[in-house]
Amino acid sequence: MQHKKTIAAVAAGLTLAIGGAALMPGLGLVAADHLDPPSRTDPSVDSTPDRAADIADLFAWHDADNVYFIMTFAGPQATDQPATYDPDVLYTINVSNDSPRTTADFPIYVRFGAGSGSNEYGVQVSGIPGTSGPIEGSVEKTLTQEGATVRAGLFDDPFFFDLQGFKDTASTGTLSFDSSRDFFAGQNLTAIVISIPRDRIENGTSPIDVWGTTARIGGQM
């Protein structure tokens, strides 16, 4: 199914009137957040890209029982590459459940650490409301403590987007998205998945605001 489903159905005439350079003044709609900011994480721009601290995506949703958070990072990458567990990076999922919406009422901190044996890595998740201490254990293992569940590991990159279509649009001036073409298909990355009982986050009718940050000890690479 490589035929183009561009948006010919919508418009034969969907041709940009001007060139790509003007379309994207300083922009790079590369992905959800993969390789952003480029000067710190994109190998085509930065000679010492910080892959480990490069957030790829952030997800947050809920059901009747839990609120779920996923932060993906260090990707996308080829499927023959290992996961990235960098003990010098602090991953934070900031959660606000009260006014002001811009203050993290409970930041959830995620750290990685080396194990005692070779090829052993652990994950530590602290700050989950309702837990008496950090959740710690091996990566690639589902860890449950006091109602919360976490897992860090290598996964498929869940993002889907026609990056090539965007690049083509920019360079040719013709909109040429192809919905059968997914740049992120067949690629992996590392992720942390967290499930928290909903009643520990719900605060009346207050909206829940979520944002992710990464930081490196000793300064940027």
Partner: protein, 237 residues
């Protein structure tokens, strides 16, 4: 639910985001030229000028009752209304077609078109290449045959450094806001900032300028495609 949405709106008004956006727009819709003069000057030009657009209606239109586009991207956070159904832009699930929805709400008149208009085509791939899992951890297993980390370890060494000893590298809230609506010159500052900076209006001029630039390039094409842009034309060649 309505109370919740009113709360969101109230908070936004309190932070002044919308007021700042409106104030900034008045000086911004004329592209980069900083020409607030309401009377267009018809100076001779070697090339025809392009129609320019005012994106104020795009930022002010509501994605849901009480939730404006401006409110979605400023501050740059994922927002969950737990009383409502989960799914972008009420939070973000793995399967949500966030790029097509984002493009729709920032470019199309939502009074005419649904936020899922572009996702319905679809413009971009409508789903992931492999199926997500229906239960924890939800993500699909890694593809291929990557080296596998041993999962039997029990003793690990973690840094105990306090968060303030680390240096910020990256920040993310809404998908593609930092990548699509923040220009290269501002990306580092944006990633170093926090939602409180967003709410105070720090990046509103940048967001507005980038959206205006994209709209100026794409609006004619959207019209040609039978779509109604949310932006309004301010000058024409």
């Amino acid at each position: 639910m309505e109370t919740n949405k009113r709360s969101i709106r109230r908070t936004l008004l309190m932070t002044g985001s919308l007021a700042l956006i409106a104030g900034t727009l008045s000086g911004c819709f004329d592209d980069d030229d900083q020409q607030p003069d309401p009377t267009p000057t018809m100076a001779p030009s070697p090339t025809p000028t392009q129609t320019t657009y005012d994106v104020t209606p795009c930022l002010q239109q509501e994605v849901a009752p009480g939730v404006s586009v401006a409110g979605l991207i400023v501050p740059d956070t994922l927002t969950l209304d737990l009383s409502g159904t989960s799914g972008f832009p009420n939070g973000r699930k793995l399967s949500d077609p966030v790029i097509d929805v984002t493009l729709a709400v920032i470019f199309l008149d939502l009074g005419t078109h649904s936020a899922t208009t572009l996702a319905g085509l679809p413009l971009n791939p409508p789903s992931n290449d492999v199926a997500f899992q229906s239960s924890f951890p939800f993500l699909a297993p890694p593809q291929g045959s990557p080296p596998v980390t041993t999962a039997t370890g029990t003793t690990f060494t973690f840094r105990s450094s306090s968060p303030d000893q680390y240096t910020r590298v990256d920040r993310m809230g809404m998908p593609a806001v930092s990548t699509a609506l923040i220009g290269s010159d501002t990306k580092v500052a944006y990633n170093d900032a926090d939602p409180a900076d967003d709410a105070s209006g720090t990046f509103v001029p940048e967001l507005t300028e980038q959206l205006t630039g994209l709209t100026n390039a794409l609006a004619d094409d959207l019209v040609a495609a039978g779509l109604q842009p949310c932006a309004t034309a301010t000058t024409a060649s």
